[in-house]
Amino acid sequence: MNTIKDIDLIRQKAQQDDADQTCIYVHMGTCGIASGAMSVLGAIKNKIKEDGAAKDVKVVTTGCAGICSQEPLITVKIPGAEPVIYKQMDEQKVLRVYESHVKGDSAVVEYALARGMEYQIKERKASAGHIPGEKVMTAEIPGIEELPFFALQELRVMRNRGLIDPAKIKDYIGRDGYQGAIKALTEMSSEEVINEAIGSGLRGRGGAGFPIGLKWKFAAAEKNDIKYILCNADEGDPGAFMDRNVMESDPHSIIEGLIIGAKAIGAHQGYIYCRAEYPLAIETLNKAINQARALDLLGENILGTGFSFDISVYEGAGAFVCGEETALMRSIEGKRGNPRPKPPFPAKAGLFEKPTVLNNVETLSNIPQIIVKGADWYKEIGTEKSPGTKIFSITGDIENVGCVEVPIGTTVDTIVNQIGIVSPDKNLKAVQLGGPSGGCIPKDYMHVAVDYETLQEYGAIMGSGGLIAMSDDKSGVDIAKFFIDFCQDEACGKCLPGREGTKQMLQILEKIDSGEGSPDDIETLKVLCGVIRKTALCALCKTAVNPVLSTLRYFPEEYQEAVKTKVEMGG
């Protein structure tokens, strides 16, 4: 049986390991691999072997580095010198970097993205762009603190990004991983864990923004020997990939969050419900769980503390509605993922009718640090009502596509114009937030702060974090049609307003789009939105009307224009 002392030893050793060795980090998320990271890895490994340099140069495979549009990325770190991040690598380029930078000590300027690594940004800023003791590679390459994409982010959930090998638990432990779980299991009562969570003000990142501490409190109050804690890794918003990123890059942070949550509510079994479209995430999670078991961080009597808890990964089978909590539970039970009316709430009767808590991936990944550093630390950034950070996956007509973590309350302008940067050949029209249940923020409202309440005022939602910059290539009607088509397709069909209502909306939108619509159709559309919002059984179709209402609100002239042709033609 491993004990807390053993974990401490692993931590100390891991911290010493990398300090004075030349490392080449190859960043290998799904996007990195799709862009060719495997062949980059193969090329560099072969070369090192050929040179007989395996002892001197360590190749570390990490999760993604966050900036998909520059993949494949590598980072070269030589002791005593600034690390350099290289972009858009291929087999030839990586070998040139190896010859010139690793063997020859001079960086390849054309391929370089930045000097320094993300964890150094604060220190580099504080010391005029140069960390004492580190040799400056060449000032021609921008310092990472000068690049808004990196400098404007605040990494908490993704604090291990690009640094650890997700397949090695010792890397996570070396970055103080599992210290939160150990603290919760040995020094805190379940009530204290819950109070810390409540005190932090952390709100669910899966969309609804419900305070996690309260959710835990309700489930903790239920008397039952069997309770479950579940992680929602279904990430159904088509255009969002934050959760995938966390699972692939830092799986142990989710496992640790689940252990702490299990302690809070008194659960002994957990499930991570992950969509089948994410094979790498599923593989990474399973590996991580096995490693945690091997170190007695999961299983019977964790580290001899007397607390037992284990986790299984459950693979979804392709149904957007299964992201909804009651549907997700039916799916784990092996049934059709039909939502069911609430109450009873899952805290009372959830999975297999037992008290159950469901939390999102990103929500859970915040937890370990809240336990280690405390609620007050957590509240240092973000807004009063919504402390902390939020990860957005920013895509669409922008230059820097990727996963960005910013304090809640950051403006849309900062995210889109400074971090993302609109593509030079495009005119920004609007930013779509919250996916199929969200809405648009048009370009004249870029000052709007992204926090739960403000976004709602403007008819959008925080959602799970999909943020898509749309240029004027697409009309408001196009956007509405796209999302209604999605929801209509994904509606489970259990309730009539959901099933028939979304179908009718799609028909009307198609009619308008093809120039066959009349002004009456716009009115009917509005009425339908109201009816579905009131009467549909679950949030999928209830909120499906949001993108339509939002485009009607901000781009009414485009709808008018689309039906005008018909009127003029005498229709």
């Binding site: 799709a34 998909c68 255009g239 969002a240 990939f241 392709g318 092996g334 059709r336 895509t395």
Partner: protein, 159 residues
């Protein structure tokens, strides 16, 4: 027990092994069906009935699950499964042009296979590689930043 004509004895033996592994617990049904589909390529009624008899889960429930989740298919797919991502990011980056191209070039609807049994075309909803939009997934391999012009070259690699 009735024979399942479409499949070999070896395949059915493997299915039996999967049933032993996943069949006992109600929450094992979806993973079981996923593994069987991985093995056989699809889940026709005959195999659903076979699983039902062995696990004592009603055929209605199995059919209900197979038809509910988009991951499952009751028809054999062609040699290569081509999925066009139609998630939001891919849509913004022009995935609809690709859909049009496939429909025109192959005179086929999504969900169908080409007559020569080479491709099955399907629509996908975001595989999380939005950074590379628009994305096409062939037999599980992700191809990013695909254009109408580069698509043919990619398809050619799959005979």
């Amino acid at each position: 027990m009735q024979a399942v004509l479409e499949f070999t004895k070896e395949q059915i033996d493997e299915v039996d092994g999967l049933i032993d592994r996943y069949g006992a617990h109600p929450s094992g049904l979806i993973p079981l069906l996923e593994k069987v589909q991985e093995l056989l390529g699809y889940l026709p009624l005959s195999i659903q009935e076979y699983i039902s008899e062995k696990t004592h889960i009603s055929p209605n429930r199995i059919y209900g699950v197979v038809t509910f989740y988009s991951f499952f298919t009751m028809e054999a797919r062609a040699r290569h499964r081509v999925q066009l991502c139609l998630g939001t990011a891919c849509y913004v980056k022009g995935a609809d042009a690709m859909v049009e191209k496939i429909e025109n070039d192959y005179q086929i609807n999504f969900g169908e296979s080409t007559e020569d049994g080479r491709f099955t075309f399907e629509k996908a909803r975001c595989v999380g590689a939005c950074g590379l939009a628009p994305v096409v997934i062939i037999d599980g391999e992700v191809f990013g930043k695909v254009t109408v012009d580069s698509l043919d070259g990619i398809l050619e690699q799959f005979a």
